[in-house]
Symmetry: C2
Subunit: 458 residues, 2 copies
């Protein structure tokens, strides 16, 4: 820590309540980074842990006056490095602001603080017969504030959409400590620019979100589940295309490639079979789910499925979905991993998976592919040995090749994880120069001194 | 026209293709305003009618250099004065850019120019078995570009959402003529700030939209229809609340109050009955619509419905919906009208309608209420005599009282029509000062010389 940083820390401790400023090296070490791999991070100067909007506002005012950069943080479960500490920064952790302030069953909405765990909100909604659909993989540990800041997805998006589709209002503290509200409690409203959507997915670069109003939907019946295995990737791709073409909308449609299926089988001994080139997992929570899954089963059979299993029992369904849940843990056993998050138009999924197989051969590196087939959003997972510079270089090169391929196929560098540190440099390859200039102009308009998550801001 | 305006017009005619600059007084008169009432407007300097993005870009470059304000315009069917010409402005009419560029059935999306009539896009989607849901009242004449610029709603929103929920990408020309793209063709994507949503609903104040990519949904079965009449407003309100509480989501749920029902009956002799205090119109296009409408019929009966009629026949359904379609034309026969567009949390609809009845008595003025009960978005229509200053003043006072009441009930000044000229001054009463300052900062960042729709910009 430099002398000026020590001075700043002293001022911070003087001006803010003593129990919200933490500079203990053991504590701050655990706030240095999120769950991403191969992204830059460092130790923050301190961690500020506010309990109220007023404390967030006071903290940002002080940090603004001191010119100290601030990185807001939820649970740190992100996969793009958007919550990684940057040089000389303070991490602002929202974990103490974890109250569900309101569940309004009549108007079907909830008001929560940013540190509420997503699964807790889902449980609270469920208790009154409603559903908060967003279900990122980290649903049991991630926070609603983090989900909003990254516009997190999950497995339900094919039917329900992403986090941002449920956010109708926010309370936000700006870089200089001013507090504002966006949006409203009504389901419709067009007064002024849509600032709610501007903050959704902005990765803490425009303000710190201190309260979130989300809409809830009627609680659906228990989902029914179908798992189909295929001997060829193109067969599974044809089944996905067939489902879309038939105008069917399941509530989940996930795909696992051969590498992932084998890794899962080696870990779990589920007996998925060596001849399986792709596994398709489908759920429906429609009122007529039985009919819907029968139509989807027919499509799978027509596309040459090796085997189709179905269940309407929740316990059995959980077993059928186990392969998807185990995808990353199973691949993790093969080595270090670097998880990608590209998305392509739905019709190009098979092209993308095929290209990833080629990239795997080209770089002599294992890549497991799983993800949200119904959204065209895949998570190719590059397996490498972090201790071996050659392997590490190959992993990064393969990762880049996959990301470029997604762009070439008319897709995006990130479907749901965000750019963060991991893909910040890629942004200029997706956005045209004018669009990028507008992004920069908006950042400058809201945070003229570039103090909010400067290492991530685009 | 002042001398400097004449000079500017000459330069414009010199620098732009001759056939896209129109200064003929008869023509420009028809581009002076939209369909709103009691909003300011004037004759524009000229109307520019570009045919391509390049012509829009060249036009804005020239106008930018000349410092001439520009008001972009679709069909001019708006109800808030957002397309009204302001002093010394040029109206940029997008009506010649009316091509449907692409309907991609496999990826379920469409790419259109801004001047495409909304009904044409719906027909083109329908031809390949898909649905473009947005259905504003003016669907047969309004343009997709205008819908995007106002984030238009309609009757389908209770199930499908508003225009912005379907827009996934835009091409936009900025104030200085630079062309940019926002969004993408994938269903998910989080690279950079959500500029698409920033332009949606921005009423031409941030840029001119020259291309729109929308997502389409599977074409639903033909809708089934139910109409229920009630002797008391609170009975109808209880039915609406009952439908929401039961977790049922029809594709349409509209309400008409006593004044509107009587006006429709006097015009159409539909025999709606003098004892009717409220009419509820419901549709479902779910696969199990019959079951859904049976549940809703039961709820209506339990809430004391006088009469319930149902039909699955499209022709009969259209007749049942006729009362809603005739609401504004029927009220129009009673005098001049001023249409409001407030929205409240769904649970407060009956409170709002009750308050409007009180306001009607207080100001001694007829107010018919109809609108989207399922969204809490109502269109109270104040009837007055424009030739009588006393009546006009009463109408404006009643209009203000209704708008204030919506805010008091936790609602918004505009659910789907936008602020435009009509409610520009109200914006500061809905937004807090910091939120308003951020709106202004964004406008300044994108259009520093305030040339795009300056009379509307907030």
């Amino acid at each position: 820590m430099t002398t000026s940083e020590q001075d700043a820390l002293r001022v911070l401790e003087e001006l803010l309540p003593a129990d919200i400023v933490v500079a203990d090296p053991d504590v701050i070490a655990s706030y240095a980074r999120d769950q991403s791999r191969l992204t830059d991070f460092c130790l923050p100067l301190a961690v500020v842990m506010p309990r109220t909007t007023d404390e967030v506002s006071r903290s940002l005012k002080v940090l603004h006056e001191l010119g100290i950069p601030t990185v807001a943080r939820g649970a740190g479960s992100g996969l793009s490095g958007a919550a990684n500490a940057s040089p000389g920064c303070v991490v602002l952790s929202l974990h103490r602001m974890n109250e569900i302030l309101e569940i309004d069953a009549e108007d079907r909405l909830a008001v929560v603080q940013p540190g509420v765990i997503t699964a807790s909100l889902r449980a609270a909604a469920s208790a009154v017969g409603l559903l908060y659909p967003p279900d990122p993989g980290s649903v049991e540990m991630c926070t609603v504030g983090g989900n909003v800041s990254t516009n997190a997805g999950g497995m339900c998006c094919i039917k329900y959409g992403v986090t941002g589709d449920f956010v109708i209002g926010l309370e936000v503290v700006l870089a200089d400590g001013r507090v504002m509200r966006t949006g409203r409690r009504t389901v419709k409203g067009v007064a002024g620019y849509d600032l709610t959507r501007l903050f959704v997915g902005s990765e803490g670069t425009l303000g710190v979100i201190t309260e979130i109003t989300v809409r809830l939907v009627p609680g659906p019946p228990a989902a029914q589940t179908l798992v189909a295995s295929f001997a060829g990737l193109s067969d599974a791709g044809a089944a996905v295309a067939g489902v879309i073409r038939a105008g069917l909308t399941p509530s989940l449609m996930e795909i696992l490639d051969r590498t992932t299926v084998q890794a899962v089988d080696e870990m779990s001994h589920m007996g998925l079979g060596r001849g399986v080139a792709a596994l398709l997992l489908v759920q429906s929570d429609d009122r007529d789910a039985t009919d819907l899954l029968t139509l989807i089963e027919d499509i799978c059979q027509q596309c040459g499925a090796l085997d189709v299993a179905r269940s309407s029992d929740p316990t059995e369904a959980a077993l059928l979905l186990e392969a998807r849940r185990l995808a990353l843990p199973a691949l993790e056993r093969l080595g270090d991993w670097l998880l990608d998050d590209v998305a392509v138009p739905r019709s190009r999924i098979v092209d993308l998976i095929g290209a990833i197989e080629d990239i795997s051969h080209q770089f002599g590196i294992v890549i497991g592919v799983f993800g949200h087939a119904g959204d065209g959003n895949l998570h190719p997972t590059v397996i490498f040995d972090d201790a071996d510079p050659v392997s590490r270089a190959a992993a990064l090169a393969a990762f880049d090749a996959i990301t470029q391929k997604a762009l070439d196929l008319g897709g995006t560098i990130t479907g749901e994880h965000g750019t963060g540190r991991l893909k910040r440099a890629w942004l200029v390859r997706e956005l045209d120069p004018t669009s990028h200039a507008v992004q920069t102009a908006i950042k400058a308009a809201l945070d003229p001194h570039n103090l909010l998550n400067p290492a991530v801001a685009w």
